[in-house]
Amino acid sequence: MREAWLPLAVLLALGAAPLLGFGGSYETTLMARVMILAMAAVSLSFLVGGAGLVSLGHAASVGVGAYAVAILDAHNVTEAARVLPAAIGAAALFSMVTGAVAIRTSGVHFIMITLAFGQMAFFTASSLAAYGGDDGYTLYSRTEVWGSRLLGNRLTFHYVCLGALALTWALCAMLLASRFGRVLRAARENAQRVEAVGLAPYPFRLVAYVIAGAIGGAAGFLLANATEFVSPAGISWQRSGELLFMVILGGVGRLWGAILGAVAFVLLETWLADHVAHWKMVFGPLLVLAVLFLKGGLSGLVVRRHG
């Protein structure tokens, strides 16, 4: 934990930012995006670095969560006590069904099959004409909390996102340290060893996959509320790739690396988009260079300096 001072500082900074004059609409929107994507990235890091399950379809569970909000919104269900469990439950269910198949494979096959399931979700969302189809769907309102428009308040929403991110990190760290996580970590390194002590890795991996999906669904709930809009683009494999990239950029071996990865990714993307004309031509190569030269990712840099 001592080596985690930087991500803790990042969380503190995010907590203090609105009080230090960064409470405007632009800043809080940007920070919400960072925190929600970081939340999704941490749960993906739990899968990739913890369980060794390199999913290229994680955005789909985020998307399922977001679409749950949209679909319920279209049917006038906007109460958090119903919408949030629905978003989490739908994403968990989606992960359970797709994971039950995907986890039977490994390596490149696993990557491809998660990608395929992600695309399935993408095309399904595109074809939901009643909920905007390709164009996406704009929420009538943010989700209400026991009838109050709590989440509509910029500051409240900011701290809800921050709390969700911190909770995600703590939860995933706890899980990885537990007996359950020990089996996951052992199976990542040597699955046959795990079998030879009497444990089949499959159910552990599936539970991990469902948990990560559920967290993704919660992130999707927040994302839909942050933008008050959902669209198939949020489910695309590019988004899954971005999440995976945040994990790698931050360093696969540490959960909190994904927080650094998400911050760096979103800030860089935003800055380039504002300042460079053909920014995507610069962004791509920059990402490639970062992966090539930052072995162990950003978190690896921090730990090496201070560890």
Binding site: R185, E189, Q192, R193
Partner: protein, 250 residues
């Protein structure tokens, strides 16, 4: 004669046209060290794979403690009391020696679907794991990452992991392979100690070790058991000498 703890009935396995296990029937009696020897490629490792469920035999039965386990997976056989080591050492390199053994302890002690408490600080599993490490002489290496242990230490660690599952039958695939002379001596002393407490199926190329440790020996050649008997019987068997020992001593 006592009921055999393990009984193999006419096991068969083909890889393409190659009969790797060609009608093997064999009994392991409670309390004995039963050695399986045979030249390279005789099918010894495949036989252990079939006994432990890593490989499915094409035909035949594996009966363990009176129960047909032929269709059970490796984890389920381990939970039934079969533990094995691998010819190529198999540990979790990133885990400490202690955590490697503690994994086996938690698998035996009950549910691994526990999500809240940090596993590394569970006293009960750690104590049992330390006991197993002490049994193989690795107590002072408990906190070393398994990947950083010497080859002989890794072999001993794999033994400790197997012991921590509290097996009724230990299957050891060439536990001495690749160990230096000193390590070999230590491992033989360890196996001698284990002999009083465990039933062991031992695959080993080191004849001196086999003849010192084994109660009975089966000779496997091209997937067939050509002889089973006491050490003295096997040493004196002309067929065995011709097929195996002869070329070994030449």
């Amino acid at each position: 004669m006592a009921e055999p703890l393990l009984r193999l009935v006419d096991l068969r396995k083909h890889y393409g046209g190659l009969a790797v296990t060609d009608g093997v029937s064999l009994d392991v009696l409670p309390g004995e060290i039963h050695a399986v020897i045979g030249p390279n490629g005789a099918g010894k490792t495949t036989l252990i794979h079939e006994i432990t469920g890593v490989v499915r035999p094409d035909a035949g039965q594996v009966v363990f403690a009176g129960r047909d386990v032929t269709r059970l997976s490796l984890p389920r056989r381990v939970r039934a009391g079969l533990a094995r080591t691998f010819q190529i050492t198999s540990v979790v390199p990133g885990f400490t020696a202690l955590a490697n053994v503690a994994l086996a302890v938690q698998a035996r002690l009950g549910s691994s679907f526990r999500f809240l408490r940090p596993a590394a600080s569970e006293a009960a599993t750690n104590t049992a794991a330390m006991d197993a490490l002490a049994e193989v002489g690795l107590a002072d290496r408990a906190e070393v990452p398994a990947g950083a242990l010497s080859h002989g230490e890794k072999r001993a660690l794999e033994l400790a992991i197997a012991l921590a599952t509290k097996p009724r039958l230990l299957l050891l695939d060439e536990p001495l392979a690749g160990a230096g002379p000193e390590e070999t001596e230590r491992l033989i002393a360890l196996l001698t100690r284990l002999k009083s407490a465990y039933t062991i199926l031992l695959v080993e190329h080191d004849m001196q070790a086999v003849f010192a440790l084994a109660d009975r020996v089966s000779v496997l050649v091209y997937g067939r058991v050509i002889a089973t008997g006491t050490v003295a019987e096997i040493r004196g068997n002309p067929e065995v000498r011709a097929a195996y020992l002869g070329e070994d001593e030449a």
